[in-house]
């Protein structure tokens, strides 16, 4: 088992005098095996991003555990264990612009990846160029540029190029393609599949679009108000949804060849 999420719960406390508890995530459990593509689908406020942040060690859970290869990620004892976790679990966020320092050139974010790698004696230049070509970018188009000079699709591909260099075991992708054009979405999705085929990478794909999840996933988890309401293989979710929320989510997807009722 690569990742085991058990009974994860996160409650936020708000208010100074009248304390109020907001439960963002409750009783979330799932497993990720190597080379599996898991989708977490739900609307805004359903707790998908909070779950992702807890897996990434960015938000501490109120209770429950996240086990990566048998070790609780919130109980690492040595700095080396933490560094290894950072190398093997990679995050891709919705807004690629926010992941960059606007004052640093693109090269820097790519070369920074070497700090996490053990073998530092490799030909760095060659590796960076190879990774960029792998994600469909021409090195001469992007190297030496600042983040604002690139398009959204290019920025997201550079994050993917970093993934190629680090070869993580798990990618946590939070709405990675909702800010990029429909015309380049398929390209980024294909990159995930390629990584999975070539390097056995697992992906946790977070999205509000059940239609996208249907294409790429091995398993879909539907989240609603902080809990998982239904899970199963994509075909089952699409053709025979059980939960009323899943049904609604399914009906709300705009279709290319069919029309909604009453439209």
């Amino acid at each position: 088992m690569l990742l085991e999420v058990k009974d994860l719960r996160k409650a936020f406390h708000v208010g100074l005098i009248r304390r109020k508890e907001i439960v963002a995530v409750d009783k979330v459990s799932f497993n990720v095996e190597p080379k599996k593509f898991i989708s977490l689908v739900g609307e805004s406020g359903s707790g998908k991003t909070t779950t992702a942040k807890m897996i990434l060690r960015l938000v501490q859970p109120t209770s429950g555990s996240v086990m990566f290869e048998g070790k609780d990620v919130w109980r690492f004892k040595k700095i080396n264990e933490l560094r290894r976790y950072w190398r093997e679990v990679h995050a891709i966020f919705q807004d690629p612009y926010a992941s960059y320092n606007p004052l640093h050139k693109i090269d820097r974010i790519l070369y920074q990846a070497f700090n996490l790698m053990e073998h530092s004696d490799t030909d760095r230049n060659k590796m960076v160029r190879e990774a960029l070509r792998e994600v469909g970018l021409r090195p001469e188009d992007v190297l030496g540029k600042y983040p604002h000079e690139l398009s959204g699709g290019q920025r997201q591909r550079i994050m993917m190029a970093r993934c190629y260099m680090l070869r993580p075991k798990l990618i946590v992708a939070d709405e990675p393609i909702s800010m990029i054009d429909a015309s380049t979405r398929a390209g980024v999705l294909k990159l995930f599949s390629k990584l999975r085929e070539e390097h056995n990478t697992s992906v946790i794909f977070i999205t509000h679009d059940l239609g996208l999840a249907y294409y790429v996933s091995d398993e879909i988890l539907i989240m609603y108000k902080g809990s998982i309401v239904e899970k199963g293989p994509p075909d089952e979710m699409m053709n025979n949804p059980q939960d009323s929320y899943t049904k609604r989510l399914r009906e709300d997807i705009p279709l290319l060849y069919g029309k909604w009722d009453g439209f």
């Binding site: 609307e43 805004s44 469909g136 398009s151 959204g152 699709g153 290019q154 054009d181 429909a182 015309s183 380049t184 979405r185 398929a186 390209g187 999705l189 294909k190 509000h208 679009d209 059940l210 239609g211 996208l212 249907y214 294409y215 699409m238 609604r248 989510l249 709300d252 997807i253 705009p254 279709l255 290319l256 060849y257 069919g258 029309k259 909604w260 009453g262 439209f263």
Partner: protein
């Protein structure tokens, strides 16, 4: 006569490096009683075009050439104050991208409505409020939302409120720029339903819907116009365009749409290679030729013109030469 007619419109951004030809020699007519979908990748000039259509041009954007006639009035030579007083909000309304963030965080919706309407007519506040309440009921929006502050409303609700407020004075033409791109799928449907209601109730005559998501256009548009690099490449009734696209760019754009349908699953995931061109220096000949799968020698040097095919459809591609 069409509700809006634009002829030979050239809208350029004057920047230090030169001219960005965001809209280049473009003709467009918007008929009465239709929803027109305007689609294309980011940076193809869609937003610039709709801003130009209502003459919302501010430096660095300039209308270099062309005439725009809206409901029989030539608006391309009007000055900004006349437009503000007599045209915007009254004849044509634009809901720009991420308009839901236009609401004042420290003002409730009611206050915002008063602020907007006072610019157009001098009526007592009580009348503005009763007018707004009636409109909200007509469009199935909760009237309670009027006394709420933006942070208390969901994204979809904010977007619908903004659209309802922009159409309070019954503009004949409503332009919405990517109204659903920032929303969840469920809220998206509510916004689209409201746009349909706006036309059914006769509040607006025509709607221009700008988006990069063609599946959304299938749901609400009667007619789709595809733009690429500042030019119209194809324009046709929705079903004709989706089932039988003529321009290679339209074909690629439709094939890039990912929806959970057997037809889509069969063809698999495809994306358009490369990036849209830099409009400071667009490619010679057909602007799509560097990315086109069916490129021919003539495409590299000669620019194609829009020709009529099969009834009212138009396409601009050397695969469809004009008959003359």
């Amino acid at each position: 006569m069409a509700l809006l007619e634009a002829k030979g419109v050239k809208a350029y951004y004057y920047v230090r490096q030169g001219q960005v030809k965001a809209v280049d020699d473009l003709d467009l007519a918007i008929e009465r009683g239709i929803t027109l979908g305007l689609a294309g990748e980011s940076g193809c000039g869609k937003s610039t075009l709709v801003n130009t259509l209502m003459m919302n041009v501010k430096p660095p954007l300039h209308l270099v050439e062309g005439t725009i006639v809206l409901d029989g009035k030539v608006i391309s030579n009007m000055d900004r104050s006349t437009l503000q007083k007599n045209i915007w909000g009254v004849l044509v309304s634009l809901v720009p991208q991420s308009a839901l963030n236009a609401l004042m965080p420290t003002m409730n919706i009611e206050g915002f409505v008063k602020d907007v309407i006072r610019h157009h007519m001098s009526v007592p506040d009580s009348q503005i409020i009763s007018m707004t309440k009636k409109r909200f009921e007509e469009l199935n929006l909760p009237v309670e939302a009027l006394s709420m502050y933006p942070h208390e409303l969901s994204g979809g609700m904010k977007q619908r409120a903004v659209i309802a407020i922009s159409t309070l004075l019954n503009p004949k033409l409503l332009i919405v720029d990517e109204p659903t791109s920032a929303l969840d799928v469920c809220c998206q449907k509510q916004v689209l339903r409201m746009l349909i209601d706006l036309r059914k109730t006769g509040i607006t005559q025509s709607i221009v819907f700008v988006t990069h998501d063609i599946a959304v256009l299938k749901q609400i548009a009667d007619w789709i116009t595809i733009m690429y690099a500042g030019k119209i490449v194809e324009s046709a009734p929705t079903d004709d365009l989706l089932n039988d696209s003529k321009h290679p760019y339209t074909f690629s754009l439709i094939n890039a749409v990912v929806t959970p349908e057997p037809e889509v699953r069969k063809r698999g995931l495809t994306s358009i290679p490369g990036e849209p061109p830099n409009l400071l220096d667009p490619p010679k000949g057909c602007r799509f030729h560097p990315r086109c799968p069916k490129v021919m020698d003539v495409c590299r040097s000669v620019e194609p013109t829009l020709v009529k095919i099969e009834g009212n459809r138009i396409v601009s591609c050397h695969l469809f030469p004009s008959e003359s």
